[in-house]
Amino acid sequence: MDAIASRLIPNDDLGPGAKEAGVTFFLDQQLAGGWGTGDHFYRQAPFEAGTPEQGYQLSFTPAQMFRLGLGKLDEASRSASKKGFAELSPADQDAMLKRMQAGELDFSPLPSAVFFQALLDGTMEGFFSDPIYGGNSGMAGWTLVGFPGAYASYANDIDRHGVAWTRPPVSIADAHAHGAAGEAHP
């Protein structure tokens, strides 16, 4: 997963990439939790293939999908080049990811394009969510784009058209560090 993350959002002169931002750790946490086990996913049968407009119709929970998909990706890599995905060169990794994205790899019963989208969605979440979830480490994602984070109020700034926002980003954890921990409510 580190290898995938490093290709999806690479470390470069613009700043840390998804791997450095802790996306793998983030995904581990998410997949182990309620979402990963499908607590927000309608899992009743029958599962049938639908039209593109009908959306995701597979039976895999996120955790199942990642387990299956990552295994299949490594298998596909080994059968093509005798090396696991993580051992390929970055260029070869990119090529493989592109094929996965286009649905050209056979991960049956999991369409490779569906898994690719889940990887990309998960990487974006891990890169851009609040650091309390383990990703966006050092606020790498927020710093890249200039998102101030869990900030309270822009009432004084919103109509100062075009004002440059130069404050460092703020995480929920920063706010907690300074005072008593707030109550968590779902």
Binding site: R7, I9, P52, E125, I158
Partner: protein
């Protein structure tokens, strides 16, 4: 089998806007009311306080305030020839759960429907001739006019502390307001919202092109306000965590802020959370409701007897309740008979993505659900439809809602979705991008309807609601027209280097978000052959059951629904108190 509770006068299903407003009105008139909310209590303090509420992953991606698809979702298909499949996760809309319902996590864009929206068929027939309507459209008049509802709009305005600047006071156009605004009897209770950079640039360009841009009215108050129930609200501080979030500032109008604290002090009002209503129970002849059956938090079935039942769940969930309870004849498009489920629509949205020079800091994170400069030059029948051959219209605006980056990291078309090139583009454009959003009306056809799914069930074993819907040609033509106008404005804006128009296309997809304005299925009307409820919101078939909310809309306007939902809630409450209770059990003659 199920436990039976002592009877109440009124059982209200749903603790959202209409349930809270109607519940309070009836309890204040000494009706014993119980509001049955399936979710848990959620109060601004302590539940929505910062910093924990400023969490995009939790509220947007993990659906903290949304109905949980795991236990109940919709099935969807584009037309009756397809097999409907479940929406296994939300993408196209965000029905809510927990106290306040969608009224808690909404965006606060606040409008009244246009007078022509209430008389759409007769108005367009008169002005353009009947042929302006494509044959497949089943749009129809309301049995109520804007003028009749105006006092109720006014009442809801002052309940929520609507922010805006009236363009038409009692028929007198007001400089500085929206010249297309329908007349209102009083000004907005609070002044308009602040205007960020991108909306100002939009307004500047639109005005140059001869249009009439104005600051969008909103349900986010702009200064300390004591509402019509005596409850305090505070000014919006534009934190950018609005849509999908509860508001920590007591600024976004919600049932919990605007009415429930007062309702809960009334001796005749009771709020019961954790109560999942299965159905309305009828007498053996099916003509009278006896009460409702619900599953409580312990999983026990409970029967709550009541003299009156009010359906105040999320719009189309009300239609599902009617179908599950066997109230009214379900609509069947094959035979074109029945009424329940007929005339379902969504909202015909589209947009134009804009990309700016680097010197223009757009600051998308400074925003709120309804912060916008908008224009009604192409809303309703404010322009000549003759040359264009479609009915309906919509508003064009730039609204700055949120910069939360999981969901918002725009790049121009053709940019790869990942890799170094993506990273470069996202950095370049995050703070130099905006969208013109276009929100248009939605016309029903015979094949846009709701029904019970034959295959899939919810966690309680009841059939899911099935949505059958695609956009009619009329709406495709309208969307193309509006989007082109939006593109024209985008190209005239200072700082814009690239516009990407994206008109709405067929087939309608359940995989992209298009507002939570799901409407229809329990149309309000004058004729039981084409409507489910009468002018008072009363079921033709079961006179002691009232339906509220957007399920009543025979078609959807280009405007957001909540203003009209609130006005009709006050109207229905008054009909119950003044007309129904004078002759209980009978259809009201109003």
């Amino acid at each position: 089998m199920s436990k039976t509770l002592p009877a109440v006068d009124v059982a209200i299903i749903g603790g959202g806007w209409t349930g809270s407003v109607i519940g309070k009105e009836l309890a204040a008139a000494k009706q014993r009311v119980v509001v049955l909310e399936r979710g848990e209590p959620r109060w601004p303090s302590p539940d929505f306080q910062a910093p924990t509420v400023h969490d995009e992953l939790k509220y947007v991606r993990r659906h903290a305030l949304h109905q949980n698809t795991a236990t109940e979702t919709f099935t969807f298909r584009n037309n009756p020839q397809q097999k409907a499949l479940p929406m296994r996760r939300w993408q196209f809309a965000y029905p809510a759960t927990h106290l306040g319902g969608a009224g808690s996590h909404w965006s606060g864009a606040y409008y009244r429907f246009d007078p022509t929206d209430f008389k759409i068929r007769s108005h367009y027939n008169n002005r353009y001739g009947a042929k302006i309507f494509d044959e497949d459209l089943t749009a129809q008049d309301w049995p109520l006019s804007y003028d009749e509802l105006e006092p109720y709009f006014d009442r809801f305005d002052y309940l929520i502390g609507a922010s805006g600047y009236a363009g038409n006071l009692k028929g007198q156009l007001q400089p500085g307001g929206n010249p297309f605004e329908p007349w209102r009897s009083r000004p907005y209770p609070n002044p308009p919202m602040k205007v960020p950079y991108a909306p100002a640039l939009f307004g500047e360009a639109a005005a140059k092109l001869g249009y009439h841009p104005y600051v969008q009215p909103s349900a986010l108050v702009t200064r300390p306000y004591i509402n019509s129930e005596g409850l305090p609200m505070s000014a919006c501080v534009y934190c950018g965590f609005c849509s999908n979030f509860g508001c920590e500032h007591f600024a976004k109008a919600s049932p919990q802020v605007c009415v429930l604290p007062v309702a809960m002090k009334l001796p005749d009002f009771e709020l019961r959370t954790g109560t999942h209503v299965l159905r309305v129970e009828l007498t053996p002849d099916g003509k009278h409701a006896r009460g409702v059956t619900y599953v409580d938090a312990a999983g026990e079935e409970v029967f709550q007897p009541a003299n009156i039942v009010v359906l105040s769940a999320f719009s189309i969930n009300n239609v599902r309740l009617l179908l599950l309870s066997k109230i009214g004849k379900p609509f069947d498009p094959a035979t074109n008979t029945g009424v329940v489920g007929r005339n379902y629509t969504h909202q015909t949205t589209s947009g134009v993505n804009l990309f700016f020079e680097e010197s223009f800091n757009i600051n998308p994170f400074m925003g709120a659900g309804a912060v916008a400069v908008t224009m009604d030059d192409f809303s309703a029948d404010n322009f000549d439809h003759g040359p264009h051959g479609f009915v309906g219209g919509g508003y064009l605006q730039i609204q700055v809602v949120s910069g939360a980056p999981i969901s918002y990291h725009p790049t121009p078309r053709g940019t790869p979705g990942w890799g170094s090139e993506w990273k470069q583009a996202v950095r370049r454009y995050y703070n130099h991008s905006a969208s013109i959003t276009i929100t248009g009306s939605a016309m029903p056809t015979r094949n846009s309807y709701l029904s019970l799914d034959p295959t899939y069930k919810d966690a309680w074993g009841q059939p899911l609601l099935r949505i059958t819907y695609d956009l009619p040609d009329n709406d495709i033509r309208m969307s193309a027209f509006l989007t082109e106008r939006g593109d024209q404005i985008g190209k005239a804006m200072r700082g814009v280097t690239l516009t990407e128009p994206g008109p709405r296309k067929r087939p309608f997809t359940a995989t992209s978000y298009q507002s939570t304005h799901l409407t229809g299925g329990a149309a309000i009307g004058a004729d039981p052959a084409t409507s489910v409820v009468n002018r008072a919101g009363q079921c033709w078939d079961v006179p002691n059951v009232f339906v509220t909310g957007a399920a009543l809309f025979p078609q959807n306007s280009g405007y957001n629904p909540t203003g009209t939902v609130g006005a009709t809630a006050y109207w229905i409450a008054e009909r119950i108190l003044k007309d129904y209770l004078a002759a209980p059990g009978k259809l009201v003659q109003t």
